[in-house]
């Protein structure tokens, strides 16, 4: 595949991620922070996020599993997940967190459990999408091309 083609596919793929709400403008910010001196910045941050979010989600699962769990604790965890997902631009994850927090406030156990599942799902999805994206990037770079940076508002 030619570089140009790869780049085009990359651009389209990225656009679709934004369109489908997996990513938002914050992700673009991260991309803009990447440069020659920090060539792997986005990937590093993203993997850091997934590492951290996995812990958070596990923690959440454990907490919600208890008989009488403390909603405050759940809320704190979700808040944290919300913050980090927002920071990397993982919009759908963040949105679930927002709803999740509301359910915590309402002390709605069922809904909370539901949100937990959703959060897991969204994290999984966006993780895959980003992995695909990075792979494409690598291919382009390997082929000697440069990564197009998309500008989204």
């Amino acid at each position: 595949m030619e570089v140009v083609q790869m780049q085009r596919r990359f651009a389209e793929y990225t656009a679709s991620l934004f369109r489908e709400g997996f990513l938002d403008a914050q992700f673009t910010q991260l991309q803009q922070l990447q440069d020659e001196t920090n060539p792997d910045f986005v990937e590093e941050v993203v993997s850091l996020f997934f590492e951290d979010s996995e812990k958070l989600v596990n923690n959440l699962a454990k907490t919600l599993d208890q008989q009488n769990f403390d909603y405050k604790k759940v809320d704190a965890l979700v808040h944290q997940l919300k913050g980090s997902s927002a920071s990397i631009g993982a919009q759908r994850v963040k949105n679930v967190c927002v709803a999740f927090r509301q359910f915590c406030e309402d002390q709605n156990v069922e809904a909370c459990l539901g949100c937990l599942q959703q959060v897991k799902q969204e994290c999984f999805l966006v993780k895959n999408k980003l992995e695909t994206l990075f792979r494409m990037e690598q291919q382009i770079v390997a082929a000697g091309g440069s990564i197009p940076v998309m500008e989204y508002n």
Partner: protein, 671 residues
């Protein structure tokens, strides 16, 4: 913005450059930022963004680490960015600490954009609040906070210092949110003034706004300020008028305005802290009144209010009340120049019985430690105190130096021993000298003394926090021990409870310490009064978080930083408990050891920070925190009386309102 000075890049060597009307090319590059966030993802992103802004970044994922870093390197950072929700320490607490100890601009950030949280940030003194996710554009502008703060500090520089005015310094008063009144004609002048001997002065010339001049509002100055404010009445207290009343050469309206703003913040805080159960509610209106627990049914306060009570008379009173042979001659309130703190008439009648009750009862009151006022108590000191033979009844002395009075020592203070002396003594743990020690709080501007003597069986310990500017804490710390007298009514002890209120000593802490006069004395008295050791008092760690760092370093005069440290000394009339252990609440409150100079005290008062949880209320182990029994001083007489009564009834230590000008938050204060 042009600060008129070249920005100084960190490590960049001097910058000179003040471009005419412009900022040096370098600035804000090199701005030294400390970013604190427990979220590794955010931390990494922020670091990258800040570096992209050409700042010098240090990242930290724990608040404790950040504090340590900051303490080790007081001038090593220009601005701090901190997350609100962190596992080891609440971001607001960190904010308070930083405000107290280092007076750096702190920017809070959170994914939480709820109005309350943002408001909390503001009231705690954050200079900005960013909502996550943070965009790099938001970070590009953070340097403005540094510059603004510097600018204000310059203006607050010791007005008496010789100033150098740069004519070209653009006046940005209008940008200054601190000033409640406009009028900048003379804004500028203040800005350029430099404090003599100010260590950073020289640097200021070359460096940009990144240099942080330390402005110190000396005790005297603050006293005058408070007096002026009270005289004018809160409504009418505008910087211009205050300035006129104060009539201090060299002081500018800007200095006053900025100080006033802080003072107001402090008062507001106190106000909101009023709902403490302890009932010592001091209306924070302009004056902080310290309700003097009347010992022996005496309304010391009233007496004090009456004017300067002769030491003798006071002593006599005390004696009469206590039936002790009085010796404390010194209990008198010395107010050097001010009106007394106690403006209220004394409810004498009320106290009579209370005292005893108080002494004995010591019911659950716990010495409220000043909330948010860091007091460090050193266990040694406490021990010392404990041993003192005197047992103090509940010393509930809250002395609020009301601003108006200028003399912050409301507590009847015995003669005025030289300030420095007192401090020294205190430091020495010389309790016996209390009587003589009373340091007139002359010139202690706004020293809030709160001694809450709480007597409780469990031994309360309170930390009197005396913040007189920097020195406050020390003093307090030391004395608590003394107080643990048994049922010794505070009344007898000259209200020295001097407490500590930290007068925002901006000027030089040293002077503050000396001025602290006022606080030490009380302790001495206590020791004398103390009769039995049986009482154990626990020194409430006053919820201070001291991180040990309380050691003496003078608070850097920044007004903001060290809000008056109010220390509640709870003296349990009962046995002295190992107050020491208690005393350090939260573990680290170390009362500043009797450092002879107030400096030490102060400094750490800033460090002291009563964490809600930690309010050392040792007394009954109640957890005062959260509500912190510290209460702001009440201004109403009735309230005072009530408070006193309550205190007496409960033998509780007074609540010290936190006298905090800037970010001293009371933990439980809801914003």
């Amino acid at each position: 913005m042009n600060c008129g000075r070249g920005g100084k890049g960190v490590g960049a060597g001097s910058m000179s450059a003040v471009a005419s009307g412009g900022v040096s090319d370098q600035f804000p590059a090199g701005l030294r930022v400390l970013v604190v966030d427990d979220d590794p993802t955010c931390l990494m992103i922020l670091e990258r963004m800040l570096k992209a802004c050409r700042y010098e970044v240090t990242k930290c994922n724990r608040a404790e680490t950040a504090l340590t870093l900051l303490r080790q390197n007081k001038n090593g950072f220009d601005v701090v960015i901190s997350d609100v929700h962190m596992p080891d320490m609440d971001g607001f607490k960190l904010l308070e600490h930083i405000g107290l100890e280092m007076d750096l601009p702190v920017i809070m950030m959170s994914a939480d954009d709820g109005k309350q949280v943002v408001m909390k940030g503001i009231t705690h003194g954050a200079c900005d609040y960013l909502i996550k996710p943070i965009r790099i554009e938001a970070l590009k502008n953070i340097w403005q906070h540094v510059v603004r703060k510097r600018k204000n500090e310059w203006k607050d520089l010791d007005p008496l210092g010789s100033g150098v005015e740069d004519g070209d310094r653009p006046q940005k008063v209008s940008d200054d949110a601190d000033y409640t009144s406009s009028a900048n004609e003379d804004n500028w002048k203040g800005a350029k003034k430099r404090k003599d001997g100010e260590e950073e002065v020289e640097e200021r010339d070359e460096t940009s706004t990144l240099k942080k001049p330390r402005v110190v509002w000396s005790v005297e100055l603050h006293q005058q300020f408070v007096a002026a404010v009270n005289q004018l009445g809160t409504d009418k207290a505008v910087p211009k008028k205050i300035l006129e009343l104060m009539n201090v050469p060299g002081l500018t309206r800007e200095n006053v305005a900025s100080h006033l703003q802080k003072y107001r913040l402090y008062l507001k805080r106190i106000c909101s802290a009023q709902q403490q159960p302890n009932g010592l509610n001091l209306a924070p209106q302009d004056a902080a009144y310290v309700p003097l627990p009347s010992l022996n049914g005496f309304d010391y306060q009233a007496v004090a209010a009456a004017g300067q009570l002769q030491p003798q008379s006071l002593a006599t009173l005390q004696m009469a009340g206590l039936g002790r042979p009085g010796s404390k001659s010194g209990i008198g309130i010395t107010n050097a120049d001010q009106k007394n703190l106690f403006s209220f008439e004394n409810p004498k009648s009320r106290y009579g019985d209370e005292l005893h009750q108080q002494q004995i009862a010591n019911a659950g009151n716990q010495p409220n430690l000043l909330h948010g006022i860091p007091t460090t108590m050193e266990p040694r000191q406490l021990a010392h105190f404990q041993q003192s033979s005197q047992s103090f009844g509940n010393l509930n002395m809250q002395i609020n130096t009301h601003g108006s009075n200028g003399t912050s020592l409301m507590m009847s203070m015995a003669q005025q021993p030289p300030r420095g002396a007192i401090l020294n003594e205190v430091a020495a743990g010389n309790v016996s000298r209390i009587a003589s020690q009373l340091n007139p709080m002359n010139g202690n501007a706004g020293i809030l003394v709160r001694n809450v003597v709480a007597e409780n069986s469990s031994g309360q310990v309170y930390n009197p926090v005396v913040t007189q500017g920097p020195s406050m804490v020390d003093f307090v710390a030391k004395h608590p021990a003394e107080f643990s007298s048994s049922g010794f009514p505070l009344a007898s002890t000259p209200g020295t409870s001097s407490i500590i209120s930290k007068v925002p000593a901006q000027d030089d802490i040293n002077s503050q310490l000396k001025g602290a006069g006022g606080y030490v004395p009380s302790y001495d008295i206590f020791s004398e009064l103390q009769q039995h050791k049986s009482q154990d008092w626990a020194l409430p760690g006053v919820g201070l978080n001291f991180d040990g760092s309380l050691n003496a370093h003078p608070v850097q005069g920044s007004f903001d930083v060290s809000p008056s440290v109010l220390v509640n000394q709870g003296i349990s009339s009962g046995q002295r408990s190992e107050a020491n252990s208690n005393a350090s609440p939260a573990g680290s409150a170390t009362l500043l050891p009797g450092q002879p100079n107030g400096q030490t005290i102060n400094q750490h008062l800033t460090g002291l920070h009563v964490e809600g949880a930690q309010v050392p209320k040792v007394e009954r182990d109640q957890n005062l925190n959260s509500q912190h029994t510290l209460y702001s001083e009440q201004f109403g007489q009735d309230d005072l009386m009530t408070a006193i009564l309550k205190q007496q009834q409960f033998g509780l230590g007074a609540v010290e309102p936190e006298f905090d000008f800037d970010g001293f938050p009371m933990d439980n204060v809801r914003v």
